[in-house]
Structures are given as structure tokens and as C-alpha cells.
Symmetry: C2
Subunit: 260 residues, 2 copies
């Protein structure tokens, strides 16, 4: 299926499942929607923490069509599933947010590690959660993000176990994607960044770590979402975990520096 076909099935309510592995080679994105009153602060949070929050596209107030990464798409209907938060509390999980739309809402699309998982796999490096058909394990750390206005919180990381030589190769491969979290932020001893039990991730599923492997940690796109929930703003809408927005951009467009 093409990205457009997937979005069309979401729009008509025929697709409501997680998106990993769909439309391989195309960029999938995290969605965060906040009211105008918090939009500057949230944009600033992303700018100050660009490794966990690489911006794919930010829409102007009230707009729902991401004209840069998916012309013709509608962010109110074209994701398989959404979460709605009222003052930090999850109040609904829905397949469309058309009925909740307000003219002051601002939408943010943020890069996701699915992009570099594909690059790791292409390089023959292990992506354990894919091998085990699980969600990637994610952990809150003791590394603070740079706060911005009402938004603050810890860096959330994803983890992939690898042999030391593979980890070094993975650092090179993922470093090519500064707009999809870039290279790892830590390797080895989890306690050094405040993670005390790899078997109990804060989000996603635990994965097997084989003899001789070390945990390798990357900044994760759940970071801005967690900070937005934590801020307890009156209204916050996000994608449901794993139910991403599928864009028309190819993974290679997140490599290296941006175009003009």
C-alpha cells in the first residue's frame, strides 16, 4: 500500500491498527496537537530538544493539511487512532478527531525511529523488537530536556541491544539521520542514565538481550508527547502509540542537512 492508500483507509475508518512495517521506505511521524495558547512554547520545546523532537512539519493555526510532507492529507482523520487528553488525563481514544476540531489548534508532526530502524535492518544490524514482533522498549531517563514555557520533562529513550561492534556501526548509520533522532545518546550501564530495570520499560515491550550484547539508547519521539501530557494543558491530542501518521516523504529525505 502507498502512504496515500493507508491514509485513505484511515479516513474511511477501514484501518485502525498500528503502522510499523507499513509503506516501507516512507517516513512515519508522531502527532501532537495543542491549542494556540501553548503552541509557541511547544515549538520552542521541540527546537531546544531537537534530538528527541525532530520536526517534520508544523502547521499553521487551524490547518489540518500538511502541505509539505503529505499534500491532500487531513490530520483530523488520516491516522488510525488518536488519544485525547484533558488537563493531562486521557479522556478518549478515537479513530477521528473531526468532532473535536477547533480553529485555534496547532498540529506538530515529529520524526520517529521507524526511519532509522529501516536503515539499521538494511545494514544487517539487529533490530530486536522487530525480530521479536514487539513494540520497541522505551524508558524515562534522568537526563532533563531543556524546558520551554509550560513544557518540561525527562528525555525518553528507546533501546536496541547489540554487540559492541554492531553498536559502533549503528552509531554511524543512525548518525546519518539527524532529523530522525540521529546517533545514540548512551550505551551500556542503564543506571548511569537512571534506568534501573531493562525488563520493565516505561512504554512498549521488553526485549531479549543476548550474551555479550550491550543496550544502546536513542532519543525517542515519545519525549515531547510525555512532556505535553505532563504539562496538563487544557486540551492535547496525540496519535495512539504505534498508530503513526504515514507521510509521502521517503526516509532518505531525513538524512543529513535540510534542503533550502
Amino acid at each position: 500500500m502507498t502512504p496515500k492508500e493507508i491514509r485513505s483507509l484511515c479516513r474511511t475508518g477501514k484501518f485502525t491498527s498500528p503502522t510499523p512495517g507499513l509503506a516501507p521506505g516512507f517516513v512515519q511521524a508522531n502527532l501532537v496537537i495543542v491549542p494556540e495558547a501553548q503552541a509557541f512554547d511547544f515549538l520552542l520545546f521541540c527546537q531546544r530538544n531537537s534530538k528527541p523532537c525532530p520536526l517534520i512539519e508544523v502547521l499553521e493555526k487551524g490547518k489540518w493539511e500538511p502541505v509539505h510532507c503529505a499534500p491532500g492529507a487531513d490530520l483530523r482523520t488520516d491516522l488510525p487512532r488518536y488519544r485525547v487528553f484533558d488537563s493531562g488525563k486521557l479522556v478518549a481514544e478515537v479513530d477521528s478527531i473531526g468532532h473535536l476540531w477547533q480553529p485555534d489548534l496547532v498540529s506538530f508532526l515529529i520524526g520517529c525511529s521507524f526511519t532509522f530502524d529501516a536503515a539499521l535492518t538494511a545494514q544487517g544490524l539487529p533490530v530486536r523488537h522487530e525480530q521479536e514482533k514487539k513494540n520497541v522498549p522505551m524508558y524515562k531517563t534522568l537526563i532533563p530536556c531543556a524546558p520551554a514555557g509550560v513544557f518540561h520533562g525527562p528525555l525518553v529513550v528507546s533501546m536496541r541491544p547489540m554487540l559492541p561492534g554492531q553498536a559502533l556501526e549503528a552509531a554511524r548509520v543512525t548518525g546519518r539521520f539527524p532529523r530522525a533522532h540521529g546517533g545514540p545518546v548512551h550505551l551500556g550501564n542503564p543506571a548511569a542514565i537512571g534506568i534501573h530495570d531493562l525488563a520493565s520499560p516505561d512504554f512498549g515491550d521488553p526485549v531479549t538481550i543476548h550474551e555479550g550484547e550491550v543496550p544502546v539508547f536513542w532519543a525517542c519521539g515519545v519525549t515531547p508527547q510525555a512532556a505535553a501530557v505532563e504539562s496538563k494543558i487544557p486540551l492535547l491530542i496525540t496519535h495512539s502509540p504505534g498508530h503513526m501518521f504515514v507521510t509521502d516523504w521517503q526516509d532518505s529525505q531525513l538524512e543529513g542537512e535540510t534542503k533550502v
Copy 2:
């Protein structure tokens, strides 16, 4: 002089001159200050046009201390010279803006090509305007920036003439600095990007082009400033051309991907 000493001389009114060549190795930045009402749109303009507008630091509403790149500094006094625009019209050129400060002003510091000029020189590549002790020639092009809210305008480029082999080497060297405009956007025929007379730059000074050299064009930090002037917002404050803010960051901090 250290960056702090330069800022201190600016603060006490003892230094009001252009800053090129001062505190070599330290990042200098463009300054743009807009009211809160236009701040989201301007941040979005910079995000959408990151090659001409690489953000060094954005301050929260009303703040004047850039705690990330120059702790202790005061953006109201620590630049040698400022320009004040009322509805797009230049109304004052001053050494301090303390008397104009309002609690709703938002300050943006944007990367500047002085960073990569140092890298080019270190690599033995010619930086003609430095050799001729002039300001770099800058030109408006026909390449449109991605608009954002009230802000729109053409890409402005700076130009350095080089032999073709040097141009290729310069592309490699400057490509290392995605947060200081990165690699060139064009090379050769100026008319292809809407420049009709290299001897008449829109900003800065013309420079000599020797036999066999081609003009090489880079995205320029004047772009966001020109768009802000063009938007005719009620109040806009910028640095005066060439009178930059000298930060405590070293040029190497603008290399490659960002830290967490």
C-alpha cells in the same frame, strides 16, 4: 578579547563597531526581536527554512538573557548596534534597546556565515571579502522561502568566488555545519537563481572574481531579517548589519547533529 569582554564593552557603550574577525573561533549570531503576537509565525518561518535560518537560541517572552549560548549576557545592551523598524520602516539605529524593551518581546539568535568562513580559511580556501577587507556580497534570489503566517520572502544568498575544485572542497567543508547554513545552494550561472549583476549586490559589497573562478552561493542569515522587515509588523528590532551578537559557543558546536 573574549566574547564576554566584547559584550561588556558593548554594554558600557565603549564598542559600537562591526564584529567580523573578533573573538575568532566563537559563534556570532544574527538577532531578530518580534512581539509575542508574531513570535509563533517567526519561529515557524525559521523552522521551515532552516538552511537560511538556523536557530542558535530562542528566548522566552520578555527574557533578554540567552542562558544557553551566553549566560549572563543581556540582549538589550550587549550588541554594538541595533536597528529598529516600525511597520517595516527603519526608524532608529541605536547602541542599546533598553528604553524600547517591552515584556512581550521575543528574541531570536540565528547562525551566521562567519562560522564557516573561519572553517574555509582554515582549509586554505579563499574567502574573497576577507581578503579584500569588505563585507560579504549578498543577493536576493528568485528562490522563495516557505512562508509561515505573516512571514514570507525570497532566499537571500551570500557569494564567494572560487575555482571549481575549490568550490567542491568548500561544499564538503561547509556541509559539516548544518547549523550555520551548511553547504552551498547554487554554483555558477547567477541568472539561474535570479541574480542579474554580481557587481551590484543587494546587501554588502561587490568582490573581485578572478579568471576561471565561479560564484558559489550559500543561504544567508539576512533572509529571516529581510522577511521580517517585509512583513511590516508593528515593531521589529535587529542587529545592525555586521554588528553581531558574540556568543560563548565555539564554532565546532555548530558542526553535525545537535546534542540532546
